[in-house]
């Protein structure tokens, strides 16, 4: 079994499902994504060796893939979220076969990003994934879909340009260009060059993560995209940005990171606090989650740029946890949209009464997202903040204030939807078996990561960064 399968399989399947009728296409796509989870697990268990094939030697680009704890975690998460998202997509989606195809394509490219062991290859997949994401938001997004998609494209291209520039510089500052991670790790850069390169990369990643002030596309995209797409974008694609930042800065630009760490940490902290305050002022469900995501990614970025191994590990765990909670919450909001309920929280309320299972699930995921101990976000946050405290107590204290904000806006989010007086709502049915089935794997993981985080820490300690 080779690593290429993990991304070649959904890639091939993406083309195949185009030919299938709608109902079958969805089921086939779910199976493909689930099988991909399995492939990642097998590859991780059997410690599948890295693989390298020559491709464009002149540019130092080779087809090389490898799997370590972090990439396995992210690849597994992405495949799982794709499966769950497809399962949650209502049968009313138009042009279902095409939709499934593009979603599988997005999965394949994301797997490429996570598995690549060559920066050139990484960049190729990084650019390629824009295409399905753009189309999925633009064509299947509601009324605001088109403009959201264009905005996404505009921002992303801005970031991509910066990265491309960095790549060109990397390729041309060496006589025999080699963009493989291993080769880059052994190169030494002059301080100025290193800092310049890292700045360019950060610019590219910060759009995708996103970080304030490059987050303008996020709220629109999260608000307009159909549920399955927003699950994958918010749950997995934002992790690609964090993953890239982690890979690039820790693998071959550690000196530059040490140089820039205070600046980057300050930016991440500002992003975190700004998003927390913004979340307090939102009145629409998806927007609360968008700003909540923005805040949480700020926290993870802090962990990554803090140069502290515990905080770094915590960021990895948090990437997993955030993927799970975001996916769960957006799927639950999707269930409401499928029941023709509005996004305006002032017009929602009292839903836990007619929909008790929905209410419990919403509570679980909201609590997990705000960092309630015994659920998945708490260990990661505690690790990030503990590590950060060692580096700079002030940052840690400021960052922990965001937890109070999260308690505030996420509990309010839950109460506005589940509690209170309900306006005369149409007769509502509780979550169907299909909807529950989509949530079960997420619930299991949310509890597992929270109750036994040491199991998951083991994955991250395998990564050779420390």
């Amino acid at each position: 079994m080779t690593l290429s399968f993990i991304l070649a399989f959904p890639l091939a399947a993406a083309l195949a499902v185009l030919l299938l009728p709608a109902a079958l296409a969805r089921r086939a796509a779910i199976s493909v994504a689930l099988l991909d989870v399995f492939l990642v697990a097998v590859a991780w268990q059997s410690q599948a060796p890295s693989e390298t094939y020559r491709w464009i030697p002149a540019l130092g680009i080779s087809w090389s893939l490898s799997l370590d704890g972090l990439s396995a975690l992210m690849a597994g998460l992405t495949a799982l979220l794709t499966a769950v998202a497809l399962g949650a997509s209502g049968s009313r989606t138009e042009r279902m076969s095409e939709f499934c195809g593009w979603l599988l394509l997005l999965l394949a490219f994301l797997q490429g990003v996570f598995l690549a062991a060559n920066l050139g290859l990484f960049y190729l997949f990084w650019e390629l994934m824009i295409l399905p994401a753009f189309l999925l938001v633009g064509r299947w997004g509601g009324p605001g879909g088109r403009s959201a998609a264009f905005k996404f494209l505009l921002y992303t291209l801005l970031g991509s340009l910066a990265m491309l520039l960095a790549l060109v510089v990397l390729a041309f500052t060496s006589l025999e260009p080699d963009l493989s991670y291993a080769a880059l790790a052994s190169r030494t850069f002059s301080p100025a060059l290193g800092v310049g390169l890292l700045t360019l990369f950060v610019l590219g990643f910060a759009v995708k993560i996103p970080l304030v002030p490059l987050h303008g596309w996020q709220v629109d995209a999260y608000e307009a995209a159909p549920t399955p797409v927003v699950v994958v974008i918010a749950g997995a694609m934002s992790k690609a940005g964090l993953y890239g930042l982690w890979r690039v800065s820790h693998t071959f630009l550690p000196e530059a990171l040490a140089e820039l760490s205070p600046v980057l940490a300050t930016l991440a902290l500002l992003s975190l606090l700004y998003a927390t305050i913004c979340a307090l002022g939102q009145s629409r469900t998806r927007r609360v989650l968008a700003y909540s995501s923005l805040a949480h990614t700020g926290m993870m970025t802090l962990g990554i740029v803090s140069l502290q191994s515990l905080a770094l590990q915590g960021a990895g765990l948090q990437m997993l946890a955030h993927g799970l909670t975001t996916a769960g919450l957006f799927i639950l909001l999707g269930c409401l949209e499928d029941r023709a309920l509005p996004q305006d929280m002032a017009r929602l309320g009292g839903l836990a009464r007619p929909m008790p299972i929905f209410g419990l699930a919403l509570l679980l995921f909201s609590m997990a997202a705000l960092g309630l101990p015994a659920l998945c976000s708490f260990p990661g946050e505690l690790m990030i903040l503990t590590g950060l405290f060692e580096v700079n107590p002030g940052w840690a204290l400021l960052a922990s204030l965001s937890l109070v904000g999260a308690a505030w806006y996420l509990l309010r989010f839950y109460q506005r939807i589940a509690n209170g007086e309900s306006e005369s709502l149409p007769a509502l049915s509780d979550l169907s078996w299909r909807e529950q089935a989509c949530l079960v794997p997420l619930v299991v993981l949310v509890v597992w990561v929270g109750l036994k985080p040491s199991d998951w820490q083991a994955w991250l300690s395998v990564w050779g960064g420390q």
Partner: protein, 604 residues
């Protein structure tokens, strides 16, 4: 076996939450009471057969760098005392609730969260390290929030729940701060931290612990959530907001005694703040019209006494008062609950009156009387012995006499507001129609608590042979029966007499309209201050940044830029077909083009 005390209520709670409504009322309630009863039995077994080693590790939970965090229990006399109190009172209140909530349609949600609360509280008192303690600490906050907001159709209940949750989350940060410091020093385990405490940064740890304790135990200035928490059902107020959860702060300080000893200078501060909370709350209690809010402020006030005891180093006395307070305050709340239940939800004391003449409420009346006298500190009830021990400790250890005088004055105020509440509720004219009679289970719980209130002091802390103090191995406080009696009667009797003259001779028709009383009833407007200074600005910033600024900076501005780009593109003669597909194609082509170009460049 002590793990049963954690896992049985936990599993029971989760099961009831998920399936209780389908399981039916009888089975759900039996399951809830049964698991908590079993937890109490396991606590008893732990008391009689304690493990030889206090540190009991179940599995490895988390690694915080060098600090390894185990999922484990710390079983010593202090945690066993807490475990017995928590599970015992919880069992009685579960029984009471079975009667009180007999007509509640959403019984599964109530008993599910009540069980989860017990599990979290047990986790809190059992945890063998600070990180795991945080799990129980935040867990009780969560369960408390869910139960305060139990009447989910009431907006006021939801807001109260949110307030409690946010303030308690702020308190959790204090505990997290302690974890940050300790983990970076190498260990968060009680085994290491408490047996060989490190001087380094101890002050930061203690400040963190204090923030956590003040939020959880509703001490000034983090107390404003407690009176509002009375929005929850009365059994919840009895269990969570009187007997157990709010005492967690006192437990935390008693648990961390070795750490607190390192920063002795903090002692005076803790004691002074304790007095401030005690006096402040007592002054608010005497102006309330709502019976439950009197008891809420009274709880805050009694917790202030416990913190004073901690401040002067009398941790044994603090825990003693914690235990007796759990009995008599739970009793008071349950009796108040029976009365409110009987009056179909009426909580305003000025609308009660004359209930002493109603035979249906004889039980609650006697229960309330016993509890009230215990709260006022009259011998031989439990409250007398524990309060006596605290007062003596303050007198002997405190730096200044003013602390002792303040504590005495607060004791007199306590007697006054208890007397006022009793007179307003039970004396005076009666004009009530049919009353709900308390059910047998409700009465049973009250009688057991009344028995405990009457006898626990004699058994646990008779001056000269304090059984609890010996069990906890705290330094005995030499008390003198004569002066103790004098102090107690000297403060309680005048307070009650004053209440008699003010309220019994001529019954007022409503609360005093004097400005000072109105201010006291509103908690000296601290709530309002908090709202204006913190909440409102945050909300405004949220709307300003999240609404206006975001609209301009990340919507209009980028769109303007985008449109300008498109327009200049059109002027350059490029076509804007509007088809996404074309854009995608152009994008992909451009990308491939760039790569080919680069390839060609390099080759050439």
């Amino acid at each position: 076996m002590f793990w049963a005390a954690l896992f049985l209520p936990l599993l029971g709670g989760l099961f009831i939450l998920s399936y209780g409504q389908r399981l039916g009322r009888k089975l759900s309630v039996s399951l809830a009471c049964g698991t908590v009863g079993a937890a109490f039995v396991s606590a008893l077994l732990t008391f009689f057969f304690p493990p030889s080693e206090p540190d009991q590790v179940l599995f490895r939970w988390l690694d915080l760098g060098a600090a390894r965090v185990d999922f484990g229990a710390w079983i010593d006399p202090l945690s066993i005392t807490m475990l017995l109190t928590v599970t015992g009172v919880a069992y009685l209140i579960h029984l009471y609730s079975a009667g009180y909530m007999a007509e509640e349609p959403e019984f599964a949600r109530f008993f599910g969260y009540l069980n989860l609360f017990v599990a979290a509280m047990v986790m809190l008192v059992l945890a063998n390290n600070f990180a795991l303690l945080l799990l129980g600490w935040a867990g009780v906050g969560f369960a408390s929030c869910m139960l305060i907001g139990f009447y989910a159709h009431k907006q006021s209940a939801l807001i109260a729940a949110r307030k409690a949750f946010v303030i308690n989350t702020f308190g959790d940060l204090g505990l997290m701060l302690a974890v940050f410091v300790l983990a970076n020093q190498g260990s968060v385990a009680f085994r290491d931290v408490l047996q060989a405490p490190s001087d380094e940064l101890a002050i930061v740890v203690v400040v963190g612990l204090l923030v956590a304790a003040y939020a959880k135990s509703a001490q000034f200035p983090l107390h404003t959530w407690l009176p509002d928490a009375m929005e929850g059902p009365t059994p919840v107020s009895a269990l969570i907001h009187a007997a157990t959860m709010v005492t967690a702060g006192v437990y935390l300080l008693a648990r961390c005694e070795p750490l607190l000893r390192l920063v002795a200078e903090m002692g005076s501060l803790i004691a002074a703040l304790g007095l401030l909370s005690a006096a402040l709350a007592a002054s608010c209690a005497l102006a309330q019209t709502d019976l439950k809010r009197v008891l809420a402020y009274s709880t805050m006030s009694q917790l202030g006494y416990m913190f004073m005891a901690c401040g002067v180093g009398a941790y044994g006395a603090a825990i003693f008062h914690l235990v007796t307070h759990a009995f008599f305050k739970a009793l008071l709340f349950l009796c108040a609950g029976s009365i409110i239940h009987a009056l179909h939800g009426e909580q305003d004391m000025f609308k009660m009156g004359g209930l002493a003449r109603r035979s249906e409420l004889a039980g609650p009346r006697w229960g309330f009387l016993i509890g009230g006298l215990a709260l006022a500190g009259l011998p031989p009830l439990a409250g007398y012995f524990s309060k006596e021990e605290i007062l003596t400790a303050i007198e002997q250890n405190a730096m200044t006499d003013s602390l002792f005088l303040g504590a005495l004055l607060t004791a007199a105020l306590t007697a006054f507001y208890v007397g006022r509440a009793y007179i307003l509720v039970f004396w005076g004219p009666a004009e009530h129609g049919e009353l709900h009679r308390p059910t047998a289970l409700m009465s049973l719980a009250c009688w057991v608590l009344a028995l405990l209130t009457a006898g626990a002091g004699l058994v646990l802390g008779f001056p000269g042979s304090p059984a609890l103090g010996a069990y906890l191995r705290t330094a005995p406080i030499p008390t003198h029966l004569g002066t103790g009696l004098l102090i107690s009667l000297g403060t309680a009797i005048p307070g009650m007499l004053l209440a008699y003259f003010m309220f019994a001779r001529t019954r007022p028709q409503g609360p005093s309209s004097a400005a000072v009383f109105r201010l006291a009833e509103k908690g000296w407007a601290l709530d309002e201050v908090q709202r204006l200074a913190i909440i409102a600005p945050m909300q405004m910033m949220g709307r300003l940044l999240g609404g206006r600024l975001e609209d301009v900076a990340s919507h209009r501005l980028p769109e303007q830029v985008g449109q300008t780009a498109v327009r200049s593109g059109q002027e350059l003669g490029l076509s804007q077909s509007g088809l996404l597909r074309t854009y995608a194609l152009v994008l992909l082509t451009a990308l491939l083009g760039v790569m080919t170009y680069l390839l060609w460049q390099v080759r050439a």
